[in-house]
Symmetry: C2
């Protein structure tokens, strides 16, 4: 079973204060880039793997999705997602992505935002998603970028001249990475970008788009703190088609 | 026109002394991984973009390729490639990959080893290669990894505890990177891995395999100096299909 860090009080409290938790999709700077990778959702059946507070599920239903299934391991998050959701097209179910089972050919879009780097057995999950998609279906997800995750000691380094750089080491050594973020002992699973893509290809997916997210010039002008995202990618956005 | 650094005397002399120049494919630790990505070459027509001393061209002909066209900008390299090649299936032609033109549907495999990061207009080249391949043809290439190329000051950093890490900065800022390697002022063109893959997809290619090369346990045992390739990838291997 995956670590259920979101139900740790300190983590949940910290996560709840993040801009993307308070403001939803509009608080996530990568959202415009994700949205550009999504198909038209009218009449479509959507699964959201790691739905959190349900911001995407509600958006998808508002876009006209016929059914949206939000899946998450955190009871705290599901409770708030349910409380915040009135649309009858949306349902939430507690599920461990490490042991997920889904009906075959049941969805047109599988979506996941910043959740799959918590999954150890990515291959199993990808094969499950492939089977759960109808022909022509899409799998669109974001994960922490392996450049961001690889190092045994992630965090900015400052050179003598004041310039800042991001450390990469142990990139080829895949496996667990334990860091302190919002709470101590958060376990993520580092995979190279090649492994992520080859796992998708091996399951039968066609890679349609790979985006190592960085802010647009307009976003940089509006939010100068995003400049560090030009230095090293924190996340990667992937679209694949069945 | 691309920079013709290989015809700079200091660069050519240094490059000629590299293990991969002296020993050929057997001197390139990534070769077993590349070979595993190649189709059966018997009766196939092959183009080698940046053929250098012709090691791959001769190997492909020995594997049974019907025709091998080696292309390079460096007159020094072509002269030695011609002098070292007796197989009539192999021909060498001087060409600038920045302005390459190839006949349509003429090849079954386009191959390139560590040359395309010298090309500024990658999109033009990829579209040219796509048109030059017959249906079912493959494009297999290696380039310097953007993790290796991105930083304005590439090179190992040593932490206080003695651990070494590789700097990544300016990753999202694509464009020229000038470094001193074998000779001063070598110009390479940094692109994110996402851009490389999306350019292929946009031209019509299907991504088949993406490998951020690292040594095998056996290679590490035989050549301990390769351990640094576990810390950060120096090159990426890509196979795409038309």
């Amino acid at each position: 079973m995956a670590q259920n860090i979101y139900d740790t009080p300190a983590f949940f409290a910290g996560y709840s204060r993040l801009n993307r938790s308070v403001r939803g999709l509009a608080g996530a700077p990568e959202w415009p880039a994700i949205r550009a990778m999504l198909p038209d959702l009218r009449g479509r059946r959507v699964a959201d793997l790691g739905c959190g507070f349900g911001w995407f599920a509600r958006w998808a239903a508002a876009e006209g999705a016929a059914q949206v299934l939000g899946l998450d391991l955190s009871e705290n998050m599901l409770a708030r997602a349910r409380a915040d959701t009135a649309d009858p097209a949306v349902a939430y179910v507690r599920a461990d992505l490490e042991a997920l089972e889904l009906p075959e050919g049941r969805f047109d879009l599988a979506y996941s935002s910043l959740a799959l780097h918590y999954v150890e057995d990515f291959g199993r999950l990808v094969r499950t998603v492939f089977r759960a998609l109808a022909p022509g279906g899409r799998f669109v997800f974001t994960i922490e970028h392996p450049i961001y995750m690889a190092s045994t000691r992630p965090g900015w380094l400052v050179r003598e001249d004041g310039g800042r750089t991001w450390p990469v080491d142990q990139y080829a050594v895949e496996g667990a990475r334990t860091t302190d973020w919002l709470a101590p002992g958060v376990v993520k699973h580092h995979r190279t970008l090649g492994t992520t893509l080859n796992t998708l290809i091996g399951a039968g997916f066609a890679i349609r788009h790979v985006e190592e997210w960085h802010p647009s010039p307009q976003q940089l002008a509006e939010e100068p703190a995003l400049a560090e995202e030009m230095e090293r990618p924190m996340m990667v956005l992937v679209a694949a088609g069945r």
